[in-house]
Amino acid sequence: MRPQRLVVSLFCLALGLLAAVAYVQRPGQAPMATSPDVGTRGSGDQHDVPPALKSAAPNTAAAPASPLSWRQVESEDYRQYIVNLRSISCPEQTIRDLIIADVNKLYAARENPLKAKPKPTADNPAGETAEQKLERLRQLRALQLEKRSVVKELLGIDLPLDLLPSSGSRDYHAFEVAFGILPAEKRDAVQFLQESYWQQSDALKAKYAKARTPEFVAESRQLNDSLRQELAKVLTPPELEDYDLRTSPTAKQLSASLATYFRPTEEEFRQMFRAQRGYEDAIGRLSTAPTQAAQPVDPADRQALAQQRAAERQALDQARSSALNQMNEQLKTALGEERYTEYQRSQDRTYDLLARLGLRYGLPQETVLQAYELQKSFSSRPGPSVQPADRADTQRQLNEQLTAILGEQAARGYRRVHGGTVPIN
């Protein structure tokens, strides 16, 4: 290459590099920020700028004189980044979205390995021991607290802690919702109690290999009672009831069973929840109460043993029946006669089938009720002793009468879901 050409090439390269440097170093680039002191935190009101951040000034070099460029706001220091965003009137909500998303991504790399149970190995077929699991969850919680502290520092807001799920098939989302509606100052305490309970409960199941031995039942009950006592120390009775309404299987089942036809008011639901809880407590006590044998039976005498067991079962059935009657009386008093009747009907599968049939074929409610009463009257007739011929005749009668009430198409639809016939007993 000729020297002149080389000089021209080198000169052009120098110009190019100069232009690149000028572009990179143009105004708007925030300098490396030093870590500010952790100052007084904000009130937590999302519309307030945390005082620690109010004191920071937007990068003067970033003062926009020309249309916006992202480089004006970008900074490797997050405090400066936030200040820069505020200086161009970025909405607080958007700032929060950006910072929280980034903090979550940053912590995900450390949190994710702690969220999953390790894969089983030859040395540890279960994946981890109970102690290892507790340690893993402890480390995860420490990271969550650290993350919350970072967000608090940057934005002046408290993020709710992610829930630490233990094993088992619990409705963890329902608990998250319940924690969310608790008074803010009690949320952490309740969450920690509940998570500790899950861990202990799972450890108990592992200890007894999921077998419901009397020892397991006793220890499990003790654990439950202990949780209730601890929760009652943190929450007021109405708060505790609200918490139970969001988290207990009782409330969930009740909610599902009442939703379609009964449609309770809040007050009715609360009354029914209390009655149902009372009933379940009574049944729980029965299952853990020691059975009283009238006379000791020779274990080798199988027939006597069978009779004794039958007697015990009968006594248990009677106690259950008594608890059920008590609950029903309580419901009748709380709801009144008319609503109680509606409630009972709403729990009957036959009514559900007929009500849906009514909706499907556009039948009036009166027709549905008429068919329901007819079906009930046939269902309450004695069953096992009826001879096959009588049974067929009864079914024919019911079918004819139902067809007269429901019409041919709806009656056929009803028979279709009952295996081609109408049900008696």
């Binding site: 020297p3 590099l17 958007t94 502290s149 909610s255 295996g419």
Partner: protein, 439 residues
């Protein structure tokens, strides 16, 4: 000249070095955040202060009046415009994704909450009726599909949106898993086909409420066929088969039928391919949907026979016989406990035959009206003794243990009969439990 050349080389080196340092200073925000994290992280527990929910409104701005030097010049109720504005000023794609996801969540939030499907949005006493809830879940699924599609358009990536694990009776997670393993280029199309099918299927279910007339079944069959044909145009035969085996109701039903039988992957696929269209037409994996229709019931029975014949053909005589035995829980238990005890398969088969004979005899005894309860108990007791002897012959010392582990003793004890397994049901699916007062 040489001096000029050296001078220019030196200048270029200096400029290149300076540029490298300047670029290095613009490292990602993450590094800066990590520093910030290190400076503020504290492991102590603090009391939570009130955390307000995100405001459901978009940052509204009229671009014409906006100050070109503020965020107002970027934000727009039209998210497409908002994203384009951010891109124009050099906002990194990752940051645009974060902003768009948050904005889309706010944009759709009110409509999602109004459906009252998520537990966050509904008090226990406000839960909707089952059929209304199903309809609301269907609408939520469609809304989420719309949101996902919008985000894909805005950001070019499939942003993770929060979807409940079950919606309108379907396991969303299973489908998400199946979409996830499809080639990326086909994923959206398959999603759209599946969503279209779900929407039509939900309409039929909402209208019929479980009471299907023949024309409703035909409508179901039509949309299922359309779905499958549409998928076949997008996916290769292998991809389609894999997708269907992961998501259809037929696959778990077939697995259930083959429980305890050691089927190869190839055999399973062959039977699955044959069974799926029949299952879609005649609901072979569920109960008969139209028992009042004799013509349909006859065709359904024929379909079941055809399926059995096909299974026979795929497995061959010997394996088919083994498959039939594995449908009996008694055989499955015998085989399991026998193999654990190291008993040869031949002895297990002999024990099973003896067990079947004993069941047949016990059923006859229980239905014999000429016997008293005492005689019945005695005869059954004798049978148990014989069974124990036979098991001992076949299994040696472990015979009694194996007999103990077979199902059925509890039912016998309940009716005061000896703890024998004679009443075990030889035909799975048919209830032959011992009546309290045998005729």
């Amino acid at each position: 000249m040489q001096k000029i050349i050296f001078g220019l080389v030196g200048l270029n080196l200096v400029l290149a070095g300076y540029l490298a340092v300047a670029l290095a200073q613009q490292t990602s925000k993450r590094k800066g955040l990590a520093k910030a994290v290190a400076s503020v992280a504290s492991p102590t527990v603090t009391n939570a202060a009130a955390t307000a929910r995100p405001k459901p409104s978009l940052p509204v701005n009229s671009p014409s009046s906006a100050d070109a030097t503020t965020w107002a010049a970027l934000a727009s109720p039209d998210l497409r415009k908002y994203a384009a504005n951010l891109r124009r000023i050099g906002c990194p794609e990752e940051t645009i994704q974060e902003i768009m996801l948050a904005e889309a969540n706010r944009l759709y939030g009110a409509r999602e909450r109004a459906l009252k499907v998520r537990p966050d949005d509904v008090a226990p006493w406000e839960e909707a009726a089952q059929h209304d809830r199903r309809g609301a879940e269907s609408k939520l699924r469609q809304l989420l599909a719309e949101k996902r599609s919008l985000l894909k358009e805005l950001t070019g990536v499939d942003a993770g949106i929060n979807v409940p694990s079950r919606l309108a009776g379907r396991d969303v997670e299973t489908f998400e898993g199946a979409f996830g393993v499809l080639p990326e280029s086909k994923r959206d199309q398959v999603r759209a086909i599946q969503e279209n099918y779900w929407a039509q299927s939900d309409d039929i279910k909402q209208r019929t409420l479980g009471y299907l007339e023949p024309e409703d079944r035909e409508a179901f069959l039509r949309i299922k066929t359309e779905r499958r044909d549409a998928l076949a145009k997008v996916l290769t035969p292998t991809e389609l088969q894999d997708y269907e085996m992961k998501t259809s109701a037929t696959a778990p039903a077939l697995r259930s039928r083959l429980e305890g039988f050691d089927v190869t992957d190839e055999e399973f696929r062959k039977v699955f391919d044959f069974m799926q269209p029949l299952d879609e037409q005649y609901s072979l994996s569920r109960k008969n949907p139209d028992p009042v229709n004799q013509e349909f019931t006859a065709a359904r029975n024929q379909a079941e026979k055809d399926l059995q014949e096909h299974i026979h053909q795929v497995l061959g005589d010997e394996r088919y016989a083994e498959y039939q035995r594995t449908r009996d829980p008694v055989y499955r238990t015998l085989r399991q406990v026998g193999s654990e005890a190291g008993v040869p398969q031949e002895s297990i088969l002999q024990a099973y035959q003896a067990q079947q004979q004993m069941q047949e005899e016990s059923r006859r005894l229980l239905q014999d009206p000429n016997l008293t309860q005492e005689q019945r108990v005695q005869r059954l007791q004798d049978m148990r003794t014989q069974a124990e002897q036979r098991m001992q012959q076949l299994f040696g010392d472990k015979g009694a243990q194996i007999l103990e582990r077979l199902p059925g003793s509890r039912m016998a004890e309940r009716y005061g009969l000896p703890a024998t397994r004679v009443e075990v049901n030889p035909n799975p699916g048919v209830d032959n439990s011992v009546p309290a007062n045998p005729p």
